[in-house]
Each structure stands twice: as C-alpha cells, then as structure tokens.
Amino acid sequence: MPVPDRTVAEVLDPAVPDPIDLGGLPTDLLVDCYRHMLTARLLDAEAVALQRQGVFPAYVSLLGQEAAQVGSAAALDRGTDFVFPTYREMAVALAFGVDMVGYLASHRALWHGGYYDPVRSRFGAVNAVVGGPVPHAVGWALGERLRGGPGCAIAYFGDGASSEGDVHEAMNMAGVFRTPVVFFCQNNQWALSVPNHRQIAGGSVAARAAGYGMPGVVVDGNDVAAVYRATREALDRARSGGGPTLVEARTYRLAPHSTSDDAGRYRDAEEERYWRGRDPLPRLAHALRSAGLVGPDFFEAAERDARGRVTRIREGVASAPEPPGTDMFDHVFREPTPELLRQRAAWCEEERP
C-alpha cells in the first residue's frame, strides 16, 4: 500500500519553540554542556576530514544531534551508570569521559570496538546492529538491581532502530522486570534514506511506551536543557525503583548518514535549511548570552580550548598504532581452542621475516 509522502511542514513540528528555557539548571552544568557540544561539533568535522584524507575508511557524523547526546549524557552518573551506544554516539562518549582516541580508533578501523575499555569506561562498544545493544542495557540494569547497586543503564538508538524487534523485546522485558533503564531514542528523522513516516507507525516512538508499561516522553532534541531535564527525570525514576522510561528526542541529522552516503538523493535542501535554523549550538549560545550566564570572552575561550583538545585527539587517533596481527587470535576466547592456537602459530610462522 503506497504511503503518501508528507510535506516538509508536516514532518517537522513547527510547534516546538526555539528559545531554550535554562531556568533552574546550574550554570556550570550548562557551560559544560556547551563546551562538550562545541568540542563534539569540531571533532565531528575533524573526523569527516580524516575520512576525506583517507585516515578513516568511513565515518558517521552526528552533526546537529549534539544537544540530544550531550544533554542526556550530562544527566548520567559517570560513577554508577552504564551507556549502551550504537555507532553515532560520539558526543555521548565525549561528555561521558570516554578516552576519545580509543573511541575513534573504531572509526579508524583499528579495532571494531575501539581501543578503550568499555567496562571500565562504563560505555559499551560501538555496535552497528543498532537494535542489538538495547536488550543488553536491560540485562545490565536487571543485574544492577539484583545486586542492589545504584546504577542505571541507558540505551541509545535511533528512529530506524526503533523498528527492530530487539528494541521491542527489550522494552517489554524492562517493563515486566521494571529495570532501572532509560531508552533514549534520538529521532533524527531519517533512518539512512527512509523518513519517519515510512519507519514509525503510531505517530511517534514515544507512543510505544504505553504498550510496555512505561512513560514515553517526547522532547525537543535540539534543546539541551530540555533533553537534560527529561533524561534526569527518567534516571531519577529508574533509580528510585520506578522502572524504565522511553525518551524520544526529536532532532535532525544535518549530515548524510555516513561519509559514503549522498543525502541529496532522498531529501531536499529546504528541509536541511529549516533544521540548520534550529541548530542546537547557536540556540544554547544565544540562551547563555541572553541569560547573562557567561562573560563576553567565554565563547572565544571555549572555542580555543575545544580546538586544542580536538587537535590532540586527532593527532592521537591518526598516530595510534595498528594492532599486531596476533591480536586477531588473542581476543576470541578466554581459553583459546587448540585449533585457534594452531592457526595462530601457523600465521606467525608465515609472517616471520
């Protein structure tokens, strides 16, 4: 059955207000968010450049999603919570304190999961099977509750992944077990080339929460303060035994799906222009400035700091060592099989100069 294409005006929600309400949030939190968002923006551009220079085989830009990622990450407790990302959560990793050289090693294709330690970082490995990590978050949260720990899990996924069976199985299990988990959907409008109205029945991702016995919240994903509040509320509920929440952050992927993609083949420039007008970074900058929370030199200094950090990360990842070939044998098992050891030995013999 053909689905009539909707107009851009229908797809976008004109009711979302542009000004950001910063009321009640601590200044240092907002300033940190701005710094992380700016750093992520610049690092994202560097990553695209590294792909163009042939250092990264491919990269998936998060351009435009900084508020959704940083605002949600800022609500997490870095000492107790655990993040289950997909592959576009670079700004979450940044704001959550993950070693970014190790993280970007996955995009340089040095090792699929990167070089950082996902368990100690409390930030799972990048996962291209986008629904896959969502039940992991439920399992982690169940385990946390069983041992009486204070932590919550947060599962990041997109509007595309919201169609995956695993996401539904996970949300239902979380509802049944009332696990301390937050399902954080970044609805960036496009699942690669497929728009929301061909991806999501029922009006929204958040609407599905009702069927799984949990609150579903839609939030302006380009408003970092709103994202922070919604995530914080969901985490507070989870931490106090109130069970899971589904947060749908409405945002927009300003870049193509990946550096291999051509978004011009499936969406028009007018829509991108519309969303560029609601860019989360200038919105936060404007709000900080008009609320008088930062001085006149703040933005210049913040950018100088961010550029310095981005340069260090770029240099670190560009010069990170390739893994030795033996690594491909050594991480398969805790206790390798005799056959694997035989193959390893044979490979080492062949490689010997």
Binding site: F82, F84, W111, H112, G113, Y115, D117, P118, V119, R120, G124, A125, V129, G132, P133, V134, P135, H136, A137, V138, G139, W140, A141, L142, G143, E144, L146, R147, A153, G165, D166, E169, A170, N172, M173, V176, D327, D330, H331, V332, F333, R334, E335, P336, T337, P338, E339, L341
Partner: protein, 347 residues
Amino acid sequence: MTTSAPAARGERDGRADGAAPARPAVLTMQQAINRALAEALAEDPRTLVFGEDVGRLGGVFRVTDGLQRRFGEDRVFDTPLAESGIVGLAVGLAMNGWRPVPELQFDGFAYPAVDQIVNQVARMHYRTRGAAPMPVTLRVPSFGGIRAPEHHGESLEALFAHVPGLKVCAPSSPAEAHQLLLQSVRADDPVVYLEPKARYWERGPVPDDGPAPPVGTSRVVRPGRHATLVAWGAMVHRCLQVARLAAEDGVELEVVDLRWLKPIDADGLAASVARTRRAVVVHEAPLTAGLGAEVAALVQERAFRSLAAPVQRVTGFDVPYPAGPLEPKYLPTVDRVLLAVQRVLEF
C-alpha cells in the same frame, strides 16, 4: 588444552572399569542436568538461570524443576517469550558481572536469537579486546526423536560451531550431561550446550562432581579395532546399538563420543583412526556442510596414512526436519550405519 592428555585417558578408563565412586546416583539425563544446575547455582552466587517457563513450572522438560523454590526468584526466573531478548539479557547481565545460564526452550527457537548469539555473545570478548568476557552457558534442548511439532527437532551444532567465539558441546548420557554442564558454566567463554531431548529420560549413573577432562576432549565409549564410529548426543546411543550388533558378526567397532563439537578433539579422532584405520561419522543434522564434513576433513588431515577407506557420513537428509511418521526414516538408522560400516570394511 590437548585432548589426549593422560588425565583424559584416565577419565575414559575410569568410566569404563568403574573407578568412579562405588555407588554413584542413578539419574535420568534431565535429573542430571537439574543437579548440575543446582550445584552451579550453589557454588557461585553470580550464576543465574532464566528463560521461558523455567521458574515456577520448572521447564517444559522439568530440567529446572525446584530450582526457583530452592534459590529464589532472583536467581531462577521466568522471562517473557522473547528468545533474542533472553540472550540479549544474558549479554547485559554478563557485562555487569553475572554468569548467566539462559535456556532457549527448543532448538528451533534458537533461530530468533541467532543475531544475539552470533553478533553479540560470540563477539563481545573480541570486540572489547577481552574487557567484557561472556561466561554465558546457553542451554538448548536439541535434536529430534520425540515426534514433536516443527521447530522442535533441529540440530544446531554446525551453525554454532562455525561461529568464532562460541564453544559447543552435546552430552550423550546423564553422567556426561552433568559433567559437561558444570564445565560449561565454569568456563569463562560462551558455550552452547545442546541437550539431546530424546535421551532426557534415559537413566544412568552420575558420579559426583570431580575433575573433568579438558574442554574439547572426546571419549571412547566402546573400544574396538575394525572401524571407528564418531557421534554425539543421541547418536552415540545409536552407534552403541550398531556396535553391539556388529560384534555378533565379529566386527569390533570403536565408538567415540565427540562430546565437544567445538573445539573438536582432532587428536582423539586421529588416535582412534590410527587404531581402527576406518571411520564413520553419524549425525542427525542434514549432510551438506554438516559437522560430519569437519570430522572427515580432520581425520584425513591428521590420519591420512592410517586410513584404509574414505570416511563415511551417515546423517539426516538435506531436508527440513520431518514430522512424526517420517522422523525414524530421516534419522540415521542402525541399518544405514551398518551399511556404511560395511562400505569402509570392504573398500
């Protein structure tokens, strides 16, 4: 890691001549697995048992009977009916320090969970460079022979043995079931544990928990000198039937229970074929790209000069697992195995 270590041979001999405790408990395989699960739950508070109907009901085969009562609803619990979610739950639990022992109720229901098993369980240790081990034992009532509906008689071993990062085993007797399950649960790598449901009600002695041969060790369950029959799960019993019949004609068949389908005991296979010079591999799964092909390849790689005949395969046919009346025609019969034995003897 090697498979023909003296300890392993001692274990084989021990079972054959009764060196095990004088009066081991006699249990069905289903009871033996239940006992192993109880022992695993008791010895490590991080062990969790969960799946569909495993709690209050005690499992559709009663394998988890009484465990929830004994260990509580936190350690033994029912999940919603969602196999992929069950395995995904196990991944997250393992990442939070638990040792999950999920059950997938029937072999055919493992297919909805293949993504989590292959893309997640098997690769998490690798993806994270060892930071997130997956000490997950995935129990799957498997194989055919009970005239069950469709999707209740599948053989998954070739599928999962092919996946890097997984280990796979299948017990053939109550004693094996007990020992292999404890070994799987204690392993820090993920193990797919395939229970031959056709043998659930077969009784046998189950020695107390004790030292086990290393992971990947096969067992000679009946020594012989004219040909080797290689099997696992319920087909070990079929091969023993064949060996008894052949013995009436003076043909002494050695029966090797592979036990571990990954890693496969290549040394054990080669040692047996060095004695008998002939091998027939028997499995329930379809022939093409089945594990019998791997066994045949290993035997010719390791024992080519010992072989007096090409390795024969007696397997299910390359058809979907059939319904009740056709089941006995599909599964390797005594006659088909005997015919293959004849072929290797007369080659």
